[in-house]
């Protein structure tokens, strides 16, 4: 039996009934004022109204902090978060700098691959090490045929010219993405460890979808639309970085 769906209204409901000796209780008789965000805050404020002893007020601070942390934790798990990124595999979509860390806005409404389509940038647990969370673009959904260019540079390839080295021998193969998996590719294909290295990734390992790059401000962009999947055109593409 799958776990029950989380309804956002649950976040505003508190398990405690209103206490009869506080003035708030009479306000509860107005049905249209119940269970809004303002009543939640006023209920929290009125719990301080009876003369607080040091122990009781400390306990209230602890309890309210725990409640806020709980709500924040659940929000970050189920709805979304903003987090830092490392690496160069998604340049220029997610920029790289030695001076600042880019931050991305991740939506966890797309966990386990719900509503993911080709062209989305997703975060996922890497198959080999769960604690490492990767960020790549979905290139193939289950059943799709994906054209795979072998390679991806290693550190030994630094300094090699275009006509030497193993990575210059580009092989192209066509792979069919198995059921329940996705094929990932970084935007910076030369320097990206993605599905060419570790194969297709199960959809259930997907943690969320990257909606926007929020820091540094010069790189602010919403992914999708112009940044997402576009139809192929016949025009020549300029390489973004040549050397």
């Amino acid at each position: 039996m799958p776990p029950p769906r989380i309804r956002p209204s649950l976040l505003l409901f508190s398990a405690k009934p209103p206490r009869p000796h506080t003035p708030f209780f009479t306000q509860r008789l107005h049905p249209q004022r119940t269970h809004t965000l303002t009543t939640l805050f006023s209920r929290l404020r009125l719990t301080h109204s009876s003369a607080p002893t040091p122990v009781r007020s400390t306990w209230r601070i602890v309890k309210n902090t725990a409640k806020s942390l709980l709500v924040i934790h659940l929000f970050m798990t189920y709805i979304g978060t903003i987090g830092p990124t490392h690496g160069i595999s998604m340049v220029p979509t997610i920029p790289h700098s030695y001076r600042s860390t880019p931050f991305i806005l991740v939506s966890h409404l797309h966990r386990r691959g719900r509503n993911i389509a080709v062209g989305d940038v997703i975060t996922y647990h890497t198959p080999a090490k769960t604690s490492i969370i990767g960020c790549k673009r979905v290139v193939g959904m289950p059943g799709d045929f994906v054209s795979v260019l072998s390679g991806g540079r290693e550190n030994e390839d630094l300094g090699k010219a275009d006509d030497e080295g193993d990575w210059a021998n580009v092989k192209e193969e066509v792979v069919r993405v198995p059921e329940g998996h996705v094929w990932l590719a970084g935007d910076n294909l030369d320097w990206s460890r993605d599905s060419r290295v570790f194969g297709a990734v199960p959809l259930n390992l997907v943690r969320g979808k990257v909606e926007a790059v929020v820091w540094p401000p010069s790189a602010w962009k919403m992914l999708g639309g112009e940044e997402g999947l576009r139809d192929a055109t016949d025009e020549e593409y300029e390489p973004l970085v040549t050397r």
Partner: protein
């Protein structure tokens, strides 16, 4: 909120569908439809204390948003010799396939392989486990979809609640 937090990080109760773990779990499911309820310990994502013999719940690698329960037979580094499935099929093993985390040897010289892969042998890669159902005749498990990444693991089953009895489903007869 607290109930969701508790469910995510401490314990969940769920019922077992199917008979792939008979007779350990749901032993009469195929006859009477009576399903076992189990207490699942959550909050073990990626933890390396999953051992051989644990019964774990995990998200299926081949089906999105579906959860499955099986027993861990091999952890990372173990060598498994399955009796059926993709590793025993020479067409699959020796074909042109993407070399990823399916545990089969590498055929490419550059990756340390020797050009020929032994059929029927799987080495469980880092960060993965090999799961099999107790009811080996009716279980679709790692012999079919390969090793399961630890990131897919959802929880570990601790107790079975059939009527008023609580016992640990790990029930290793090896002990």
């Amino acid at each position: 909120c607290a109930a969701v937090f508790f469910r995510d990080h401490f314990f969940t109760i769920d019922s077992v569908n199917g008979s792939s773990m008979a007779p350990t779990l749901s032993p009469t499911a195929h006859e009477t439809g009576a399903k076992d309820r189990i207490f699942i310990q959550r909050g073990i994502l990626g933890r390396s204390d999953i051992q051989r013999g644990d019964v774990i719940t995990f998200w299926k690698p081949h089906k999105q948003s579906e959860i499955s329960i099986k027993r861990v037979v091999g952890v990372e580094g173990d060598t498994v010799y399955p009796h059926r499935g993709y590793a025993c099929d020479p067409e699959v093993v020796n074909s042109r396939r993407v070399e990823g985390v399916d545990g089969l040897g590498s055929r490419e010289w550059t990756l340390g392989g020797d050009g020929d892969v032994e059929v029927g042998k799987v080495v469980v890669p880092t960060g993965h486990v090999w799961v099999e159902g107790d009811n080996w005749r009716r279980s679709y498990d790692s012999r079919d979809f390969g090793p399961v990444s630890l990131g897919l693991v959802d929880g570990r089953a601790r107790w079975v609640w059939r009527d008023w009895l609580r016992l640990q489903p790990v029930g290793d007869e090896r002990e």
